[in-house]
Symmetry: C2
Subunit: 434 residues, 2 copies
């Protein structure tokens, strides 16, 4: 008997859309943690998020079709958090803590939908912005990036035959598994998936997460992707991001207030979360100025996530600061998450082994490394440095300085003003690959 499933076959013929984002939980966990705080403290603050392609040479709007992008964004707007998902958010423990989400916040979230967007094409790039109250637009960041990145993958693979596609994924699987085997050589490794936004595709990220779960056992500590955490009984991981100090910085009335803004964010955060969620992201306006001006209580936090400095000098600077504050770095945690791949992870691990607790949030090179996998060189499969960042806060431009000037964002005159306030100490330009 031929066993074609007739209903499936006909359904496949009639597909209008293969949705990229099928759940509002298909996002990074820190967006939900930040969302609860934004909902509590800044819910009506008007902001704009904008798409920024730092890989200028790639003309994204030439690679993918605007109509397809609109279809995917519109589909994402049709989603609400499902009943099962709401129950899981309310009932699951995160970072060992039950009831991390306030029932009132969850009540608001149950009715939430992604708001409208503005999309135009200029000079081969998409101008995609999300304007509205912070609490409404912030969740767009991850699905918008995941959609564009997956549409790029789909466009890059168009025209390949079924057999060639089989080889592409076979090679990608073999490649990832060889990375897993190398990572097994690091006995006390703690590593997690941070690859949602830059992933090749949702299904590929799911395979990668399953690969780490199978191949690394306890060394794999979880995923930033809330949906994958739920579906695979993994820890949902992540704390906070640059958008918090960027908004608070933009809201500062004067230079003194601006200088205090990064610590104000931490004070807000501490009202909501504790323990392992007390991770400082120090580089929004430069790590060296942050450490120089930080109040002593910042040294009580569990750890730091150096996100734009090279990991070894970046980590050393933080360790030196902990020591200067009389803290033992062996009690502290460094979360590395910038442009990691196996070689950097190995090097960083070996450098700091025994001197500080470490964890690694592995992103693009986990979920979107297809170099050498296509039958012929295929630029469309190469991940680009696409971000979706706060650009405007109630009419005031937002700024990120970063430890790497190549990652700085904001209107040039505002960047200059921030540099005057914080100084440029410790900034080192490095190419931004992903």
């Amino acid at each position: 008997m031929t066993t074609t499933d007739l209903a499936k076959r006909v359904y496949d013929h009639t597909w209008k859309l293969d949705p990229i984002v099928r759940s509002l939980l298909d996002t990074d966990f820190y967006k939900l943690l930040m969302l609860q705080m934004i909902w509590g403290l800044y819910r009506d603050q008007p902001v704009t998020f904008s798409l920024v392609n730092r890989t200028h040479a790639v003309r994204v709007a030439d690679e993918i079709d605007e109509a397809e992008l609109r279809d995917q964004l519109d589909h994402a707007r049709s989603l609400t958090v499902s009943k099962k998902e709401m129950i899981w958010l309310a009932g699951n423990s995160f970072y060992g803590r039950a009831h991390i989400f306030d029932p009132a916040f969850l009540g608001w979230l149950a009715d939430y939908r992604l708001p409208d967007y503005d999309l135009a094409v200029r000079d081969g790039q998409f101008e995609l912005t999300f304007s509205g109250s912070w609490v409404d637009v912030t969740l767009w960041e991850i699905p918008a990036l995941a959609i564009i990145n997956e549409l790029r993958s789909r466009a890059a693979l168009k025209g390949l035959g079924r057999f060639q596609l089989d080889v592409v994924y076979a090679r990608a699987k073999a490649k990832l598994w060889s990375k897993v085997e190398r990572l097994r050589g690091l006995p006390d490794l703690r590593i997690s998936d941070f690859g949602t936004r830059r992933r090749h595709s949702f299904l590929w990220q799911r395979w990668c997460v399953e690969a780490l779960k199978e191949g690394l056992d306890d060394a794999f500590t979880g995923t930033s992707n809330v949906l994958l955490a739920m579906d695979n009984d993994l820890e949902a991981l992540g704390t906070n991001a640059h958008e918090l100090p960027m908004v608070l910085g933009a809201l500062a009335k004067d230079e003194a207030a601006l200088r205090r803004a990064p610590y104000g964010v931490l004070a807000d955060w501490r009202k909501y979360y504790g323990g392992n969620l007390l991770i400082v992201l120090p580089d929004t306006f430069g790590t060296a100025p942050f450490l120089r001006d930080a109040p002593d209580w910042v040294a009580d936090w569990t750890g730091f996530r150096p996100d734009s400095a090279p990991p070894i000098p970046g980590g050393e600077a933080i360790i030196a600061w902990w020591r200067a504050k009389g803290r033992d770095p062996r009690d502290k945690l460094l979360v590395f998450s910038d442009a990691l791949d196996v070689a950097t992870i190995e090097e960083t691990y070996r450098h700091f082994e025994g001197r500080v607790r470490m964890s690694f949030g592995w992103g693009t090179n986990l979920t979107n490394d297809f170099a050498g996998c296509a039958p012929t060189p295929n630029g469309g499969l190469k991940a680009i440095s696409l971000v979706c960042k706060i650009t405007d806060v109630g009419g005031q431009p937002a700024v990120k300085l970063s430890d790497n000037p190549e990652k700085a964002l904001g209107r040039p005159d505002e960047v200059e003003r921030y540099l005057r306030v914080f100084g440029a100490a410790g900034r080192v330009a490095q190419p931004v690959l992903v």
Copy 2:
């Protein structure tokens, strides 16, 4: 809607057997060509085929279950050539020739089933023999080998999880595809699949054949597997094998008749087939003696298949012989088929390029190279040198000398006698890997 196919799922639960051989055409084409000649000339000749594991260190009967082996052999015995297959054999052209099979032969084949077998276990090895008239038992060779080899693969993969299996096949695919890419560097390559008997599994051989078809285009000239040739509209390839001179040698009444036997086989063959099917397999009793004593008309044949000498000296000896016979080697064909892998193919191709026509029959390293693919070293996935050869011809032991003494077969006293008749010129011992 969850789209589980309930009927399939329940059917899967109730599986008694996943058959390895599902068609009598899942065999090497040369078996059918030889079968027609045997049917015409020697149909009642009693012979015995016996399984021989030349890789003594591997205890096959410890790896696989005798009951499973019996189930698979019994299933193969239940097969007949289907109506569609019969029509294809009658209607297809082989080597450019229509109606290669006599209707009377096809009429006999339509009712054919594999005969009974004898199976015992001794010292960790299967003693598997097929005794009867030559025309009845000869077709057992390929399915018997394919069944045992695939049962070994299945046993080796037992206990691996679904994810691990996914990685094993991803790696094997990536590995084969990198071989395909290397072979693309040989502009006039002609290569075919000869990997049925030693394949990892039927489905894997099918994938490999599809890979060569997709990746090598016209450089891929076909497959020895009749079923895969039919299903993929490929040329079915192969001519004749050692069993012909082995039987004719055993039937020789005296030493002079024995010395003439290899040429008698060719004379028989020429009555049935012509053109590109006139390929000499010279090594049954040693290539050097064969060439020394060959009548001039042998040099009129299309080509030679050196099968146990190292390809470069083996090919050179044949080229020198053609020259001595006043033939231009550039009009002649060498078919290389022994223990090939990409490096040997490249080396042989470059050595003979422009001096002789060449084709490559790629076997075990095409369809069963899983080295480095399993999560942990897995000896069960390593191909062994398993053959199924004529051992007895109506009470007279059969002998193969080969150019490689490691591949010789036969009762020692008979091997000695054959060596006295043919001489040992040109024999070079090499390890038999596959």
